[in-house]
Amino acid sequence: MAVTIRLQREAFDVAAEVAALTAGRADVGAVVTFTGVCRAEEGGEPIAALTLEHYPGMAEAEIARHVEEASVRWPLLGVTVIHRHGRLIPGEVIVLVATASSHRQAAFAAAEFLMDYLKTRAPFWKEVEKASGKTWVGAHRADDTAAERWSAPPPRHQAAK
């Protein structure tokens, strides 16, 4: 399985990353991507910027562990996770999760699993800048609930080719 994991300050080209994920693979039939974008407003108030702090070292290791877990649960051919840190302005991409498989259900499920993980357990913190000041984003109950659905014993699949 082709795995790319990067944490970076710089912007990146989603299309190029997806192309790299599937390049030269004869068996990829399905590619699912999730792109998280910095919104321009929240609760009706304009957002000036979003700053993402992370725990270097732990973030990479934890993401790698969850990509490995996804590859045990589903027959994946490739996974790309790129998460930015630093200050982002509205419209900028925060995170990309891309999954490739022979089958669409595996690609969808793995992308959702990784996003639920990133939202609730990966060591990143968001601070939002508005005209009224800077505030740290609180954890969302809905995200925790979404993440919990994966905690049942995973259905192991036959090792992917």
Binding site: Y55, A61, H83, K119, A122, F124, W136, V137, A139
Partner: protein
Amino acid sequence: MKLLYFAWVRERVGKSEEEIDPPAGVATVGELIAWLARRGEEYAYAFENPKVIRAAIDRSHVRAEAKIAGAGEIAFFPPMTGG
């Protein structure tokens, strides 16, 4: 042992890392939080609600009951909001 702080825990404590040497009676993450909270106003503020504080020992998530003996690096931070 090295402590790391992130996000508003870091802001409240006023530093991103420090070396500490807790007394022998401090055996778990929860006890370490209680000990830290008594170190001064900024710590009291950072750890005023221990329930929302998350911790990692040597880059793995741990619960308040986790033993700190042998830990190289302990991090404290709010609930994660990545993605």
